[in-house]
Symmetry: C2
């Protein structure tokens, strides 16, 4: 745990978002940006942005704003972008295939290195340049993979989770509706798409005037 451990979780969740937009500004050739401009772009209150940035010290200059280049460099270092973390995907079905085809590298450095499935027809092929191995080979192939994306059927979720953890995985992005059980020290983020849709509709009906956003919700 580093010196950044006192940073609020709400702030930590926004960091990748900031990073991407600052990167966009850099590509567009912008040299400076104010918290107000950034606020319009990412839809986060400007005071919240200043507060978030201030946890890392004084990144900006009063009366000027933030230097895009400097900010970008800072975020790159902070988010450990230089060292890309290998990720595995389990379950190359509808959702898994979509993720493999999508190039997560485009705007950031995380990349799916390998995928696993139980379907012999899929094993040995590649999807989006990622090799697909048989799930039986999980323990053999998973080296230095710290994070996994879980897109298997609900019924397999807990079993696969345990095998992943035994193989050294400490972070799981879980797209199954199962609320999986993991030991201390393993981080799980649930993205439950059915819940997201229902929750959106609930908010539409019951909080019609507000205008909050979310998900990664979470």
């Amino acid at each position: 745990m580093s010196d950044q451990s006192k940073i609020p979780q709400a702030t930590a969740k926004r960091l990748p978002l900031y990073y991407r937009f600052i990167n966009n500004l850099h590509i567009q050739g912008k040299l400076r940006v104010s918290s107000k401009e950034l606020s319009d772009a990412v839809k986060v209150d400007s005071a919240t942005i200043r507060r978030d940035f201030s946890y890392f010290g004084a990144l900006g200059k009063k009366g000027y704003g933030y230097n895009v280049e400097y900010l970008l460099e800072f975020f790159r270092k902070t988010l450990d972008q230089d060292e890309s973390t290998p990720v595995a995907l389990i379950g190359v079905g509808n959702l898994g295939t979509a993720f493999l085809n999508y190039n997560f590298m485009k705007n950031n450095n995380t990349k799916i290195e390998m995928a696993f499935d139980a379907d012999a027809g899929k094993v040995g092929t590649e999807v989006g340049g990622v090799p697909i191995y048989h799930i039986d080979q999980l323990e053999d192939k998973l080296h230095d993979v710290g994070a996994a994306i879980l897109t298997v059927p609900l019924s397999e979720a807990q079993t696969i989770t345990e095998r992943l953890i035994d193989s050294g995985v400490t972070g799981i992005l879980n797209f199954t509706p199962a609320r999986i059980t993991v030991p201390e020290g393993v981080r799980v983020h649930h993205i439950d798409l059915a819940v997201e849709l229902q929750s959106l509709i609930y908010f539409m009906k019951h909080y019609p005037l507000d205008n909050e956003d979310d998900a990664e919700e979470e």
Copy 2:
């Protein structure tokens, strides 16, 4: 806005999750459940569950727990109105196709009624039983559709958003990395998968001992 408008947003986001698990218990034939049991299943603190339920009055019985049948009936009524909300999906690509193939009806009630794409090759076909229309027909076909799932390329996101809103859509589940701009009264939930992955990795590196979950979050 109903009498439920004072319910905390954090609570509202958990309702569909509770609903699904209570439904599972009912199917399993369980007659009663305690906040503790439910807590183990959904990974939400039992005090939080009791507090959440208590916003709706006294649903349980002291010394006994909650009656599964009663709870289920209650949640169905509370979330029932949502069943009737038709949803449209825009952009039948990798992600859009996965969503259409997935039967959102399985464990819940919301359903995608129609889809739109700009690709003439896709128009006229069906995916997962959902008809695909050309995006030019958006204004013609979108009747009584209140919510939309947005899975178009980044560059199209804002334009399509404006057309959706002009056609009466008041809720958008946005999977593009664009932070779209909408007028007051329109609800947007962003699910930014690249951010979710980066954020998971950030938490793994910087908060290695905790065990919080998320996404949707809201």
